[in-house]
């Protein structure tokens, strides 16, 4: 009895077929179900065809599995041309019979119906194609186009037959279907016949279009069930698998100096935790970038690498501005300790930014990343997907033990009007707050540590001044007349006041 149970379990162990699509094999824990049919549903232009074609082409180029691609859509020549621009040599694949590509016409003949019929002709042709290439992968794109004019009740059983026939053929199959007015989903087939159902969508929120992928079903396998934003560009498809990375990242007790002696003192005299996330928030012009720049300088002084992602100012501008308060970063860019990632903060490219940053991380292997600023993300509502993406990005950095510092224009005042800002708190380990304050008709920011996980940080409100010498933080001491006591201050600060 026990043996038979074990045997069943062994048979049920699902083999998977890697897609080679960036991120996809992570969120499915290995790819599509091997030798079984997968249904990809999505609207027009959601990337179904592109994704299935990548599955076939990667199969040939990376996994030594030949493939058949049968399209029922028009413009099949265009499809081949498009993919020839990628890294694949499609003509060679076709010549060597690694790839079988066929456009199945249906619309060119007017069909009259009389009595019962089936789609045996399609079976015959698929079988031929599989024989020619000895294929292990097949795509049918898209079935509903093919049968859009035929009797639904008949097709229901025929589709079922097709799916089980494909299973018998021991071939990993992708069948695509359009959502909305389509037969496949209207018939509820995705529930019954496919082992794996993937939905692609292209939603527009706040005038920004984001492609998303979701696994609706994966029979016999665990899968991540979030919606994943993805990028489709001329080089391929990139899915962000960040959320699947486990939370079991190694925790360190190592500390890293903020580069500001006084701030280190406020943080148990030791500074930040290595690999933690640090938020500097405050209204405009309070000195957020200056803190980030000071931190970068101290990292580079330790001969460690810092990646500065500038979303607002151009790198040259940052270099110049920081020089004006005595922080010379230029020499670090020359000896390649400080790297800049610069991009305009247009939201629609946000996912591309993360991709670009990830690529740079792989290239330069930084210990610290600065994101300056991330305010644009924070102005989104609490349900913002982009914010959840940021959370995942921070998690990703934690797995890499990269310390991340980011700036945002959040103040106590904005939290009161926009409570969702408080949600940011959950994703940061250390939160430094700068607040605009006036003192004797002079602007002088007040500065405090809002929170810092895992340490007994200072609760004092400090004064914060930018001088020629960089950042000065000091205790706000006033005498009885509410005048500042300047004795403990450095001459530079006194000059500024």
């Amino acid at each position: 009895m026990k043996n038979s149970v074990q045997k069943i379990q062994k048979n049920e162990m699902l083999e998977k077929s890697k897609t080679g699509i960036f991120g996809f094999d992570d969120i499915t824990f290995g790819g599509l179900p091997k030798s079984r049919p997968t249904l990809i549903v999505g609207g027009i232009g959601s990337g179904k065809t592109f994704m299935s074609m990548l599955f076939i082409l990667n199969g040939i180029s990376d996994f030594k599995e030949n493939g058949v691609f049968m399209t029922f859509e028009e413009r099949s020549d265009e499809l081949i041309t498009n993919f020839s621009n990628l890294k694949y040599d499609i003509n060679e694949y076709l010549e060597k019979k690694n790839l079988y590509f066929e456009h199945l016409h249906i619309g060119q003949y007017e069909l009259h119906e009389s009595g019962k019929y089936n789609i045996e002709g399609l079976f015959v042709r698929i079988e031929q194609a599989i024989k020619i290439t000895n294929a292990k992968r097949i795509v049918l794109d898209s079935l509903d186009t093919l049968f859009s004019n035929l009797d639904i009740s008949l097709l229901r059983s025929e589709f079922k037959r097709l799916f089980s026939w494909l299973k018998e053929k021991n071939i990993t199959a992708i069948i695509t279907a359009e959502v909305g007015d389509i037969y496949l989903t209207r018939l509820g087939l995705e529930e019954n016949v496919a082992d794996c159902v993937i939905e692609l969508s292209n939603r527009i929120t706040n005038q920004i279009s984001t492609r998303r992928l979701r696994i609706l079903k994966y029979r016999g396998s665990y899968h991540a069930n979030n919606e994943y934003p993805f990028i489709l560009d001329m080089n391929g498809i990139y899915i962000f698998p960040l959320a699947t990375q486990s939370y079991n990242f190694e925790i360190t007790t190592e500390r890293i100096s903020s580069g500001i002696t006084k701030l280190d003192q406020m943080l148990e005299n030791k500074g930040f935790y290595l690999g933690s996330s640090i938020l500097i928030s405050g209204s405009a012009g309070t000195g957020k970038t200056s803190i980030a720049a000071t931190f970068s300088r101290s990292i580079c002084n330790l001969n460690k690498i810092c990646l500065y992602c500038a979303f607002e100012e151009a790198p040259n501008q940052i270099l110049r501005n920081m020089k004006s308060i005595g922080i010379d970063l230029e020499k670090y860019t020359q000896n390649k300790l400080l790297h800049f990632y610069y991009a305009r903060p247009s939201l629609q490219n946000l996912e591309l930014h993360f991709m670009g940053i990830k690529e740079m991380i792989n290239q330069v292997n930084p210990s610290v990343i600065i994101l300056d600023p991330i305010t644009n993300l924070m102005t989104e509502g609490p349900s913002s997907d982009i914010r959840s993406m940021l959370t995942r990005f921070i998690d990703y950095l934690k797995t890499k033990k990269i310390t991340v510092m980011f700036n945002a224009a959040i103040t106590i005042g904005t939290i009161a009007t926009n409570p969702s800002d408080e949600g940011i708190s959950s994703m940061v380990d250390t939160w430094l707050m700068l607040e605009d304050a006036k003192f004797n008709n002079k602007r002088m920011s007040s500065f405090y540590v809002m929170k810092s996980r895992g340490m007994n940080h200072s609760k004092n409100e400090m004064s914060f001044v930018l001088s020629d010498n960089g950042i000065e933080i000091f205790e706000k001491q006033t005498n009885q007349n509410n005048k500042l006591i300047k004795e403990n201050m450095s001459p530079q600060v006194v000059a500024e006041l």
Binding site: Y109, L111, H112, S114, G115, Y117, I119, Q128, L150
Partner: protein, 104 residues
């Protein structure tokens, strides 16, 4: 694939072959048998001695499915007279297609 295999059955009539049909079926299934029986009886009824019918089993000649762009079966292709007309089904309900079938 020899011609012998391809042509399951040919009904030739010695009179003028004004009408030329090809029927494609898959294996000797109930559906195929029905289609053959029904189409023969229709043709014999309305076009007696005026037609030629070639029946092809696509299982024996899979290339034909590609060549003729066939996905759905059984399928009857009226080659002559033009225009070419395609009818799918086993002809259990021939009334609605008689016009297409017999038009000259």
């Amino acid at each position: 694939m020899s011609k012998k295999n391809r042509v399951v059955e040919q009904i030739k009539n010695n009179t003028e072959k004004k009408y030329f049909f090809e029927l494609f079926i898959y294996k000797n299934t109930v559906l195929s048998k029905n289609a053959i029986t029904n189409i023969k009886s229709i043709l014999n009824k309305y076009l007696k001695n005026k037609f030629q019918l070639i029946i092809t089993d696509v299982d024996k000649l899979p290339e034909a499915a590609i060549k003729e762009d066939i996905l759905i079966m059984p399928i009857l292709i009226k080659r002559n007279p033009k225009p070419e007309i395609r009818i799918i089904g086993d002809f259990t309900n021939p009334k609605n297609i008689l016009k297409e079938l017999l038009i000259n």
